[in-house]
Symmetry: C2
Subunit: 238 residues, 2 copies
């Protein structure tokens, strides 16, 4: 009867929503469910979990709330799914790194690079910011265990690096916290400043972590003509 194809009236939004072109293939539940999750991730990312209503998410999909509930049982589950989607990327990173035929520091750096990319991805915010406090005890436990798994994975790589000599002596726990923290924090500012890709940021971070701030004797130093900062080089230079 009615012409289903007349949806070209509006210019298409950046992200295609399966509903726009709907009516043709109605059997792609999974596709739509994914679209719901992604839309939720984008909204959470923009306004935060608590400031995003399910009506907002539905509106972003040009749909109404019950439709969202048709694919998902609760707002909490929505957050959880986004979290898992993000974490999965990182687990892959660990699996891949395990195969690399390089010292532990190299494997760690590879993980960190993927980690950074994941945090800068669309699920980054949800993964990083999923608060135990916002979730039911059951999900809270689940999320904590997943987070802990990643933390332990990093510590493990650091320990291996200590053993094979590819990493400078340090405390694995603190090191893991420092590394993960720096990367996690990307989720906070990347939204505002997308001048670099996630991969570029991650690469820059890895360089900083590996090299450290203190100049190395071997490194090419630009002995700047800037006025030499006289006196007591060693006071805090250690």
């Amino acid at each position: 009867m009615n012409n289903r194809r007349t949806n070209g009236s509006k210019s298409a939004p950046a992200l295609a929503s399966p509903w726009r072109t709907s009516r043709e293939r109605l059997r792609d539940r999974e596709l739509k469910r994914d679209a719901v999750i992604r839309a939720a991730a984008r909204e959470f990312n923009r306004k935060g979990y608590h400031n995003t209503s399910l009506d907002d998410i539905a509106a972003a999909l040009e749909v109404t709330k019950p439709t969202v509930y048709y694919y998902v049982t609760s707002k909490e589950q929505l957050l959880f799914e986004c979290f898992v989607a993000g974490v999965e990327q990182i687990r892959v990173a660990f699996r891949e790194a395990r195969q690399l035929p390089v010292p532990a520091r190299g494997r760690l750096s590879a993980v960190l690079r993927h980690y950074g990319e994941a945090v800068a991805s669309e699920f980054g915010w949800c993964m990083v910011r999923a608060e135990d406090q916002d979730l039911s005890p059951a999900m809270s436990r689940h999320i904590k265990s997943l987070k802990s798994e990643i933390d332990q994975g990093i510590r493990r790589l650091v320990r291996e690096g200590l053993q094979d000599g590819s990493i400078e002596p340090c405390d694995p726990k603190m090191t893991a916290f420092a590394l993960a923290g720096a990367l996690n924090w990307i989720a906070h500012w990347y939204r505002e400043d997308q001048s670099l890709t996630g991969a570029q940021i991650a690469a820059a971070f890895v360089t900083i972590f590996e090299g450290g701030l203190r100049p190395r004797r071997g490194s090419l130093r630009i002995e700047s003509r800037a006025r030499p900062r006289r006196r007591t080089r060693d006071a805090l230079a250690r």
Copy 2:
């Protein structure tokens, strides 16, 4: 009518609330106001901003909601005050560091140490997690400018370090993000794991940042598969 003094039934909370002994000196508005802010900070820290009602805060002080509103105009302002309290600690750090007669890297490290302590303090969570999205546009702008000020301060120190040669060549912006991120993240896990003081954590982080993961030729290396011993101690020994 009701005897307000019969509150000995419960064990006293860790922090004394001025209302407990009230009735004697009633002119210490500021003291009470501070107590409200601190109580808010503790509750936000425990349960998050959105999961904390003003009734909760009032209850923590053994008071009712209107009393809280007597000292503060809104929940938003409460968060803002906590934020400012935290930031102020960091601004002091910058001022103090400016006086130090050492190369820029030393001044930077000094700032970072204070920074870390501030994040681990009771206002740390509020300072770090105050979301622009949760606040009115006016306050959001205010908070952003304060945050930016700190960010610029760190970048500045990094640039100075590049010029006086005390810092390895790097991108100041990325470096500032990495450093601040690692420290900010402390607020996320410190609540759960208080096995170290803020100062210890900050010191450990600074050591990692300065040295980097890649072993230095000069440093004492445990060659190859020899079991590394005592790795934690020297990292924390500062």
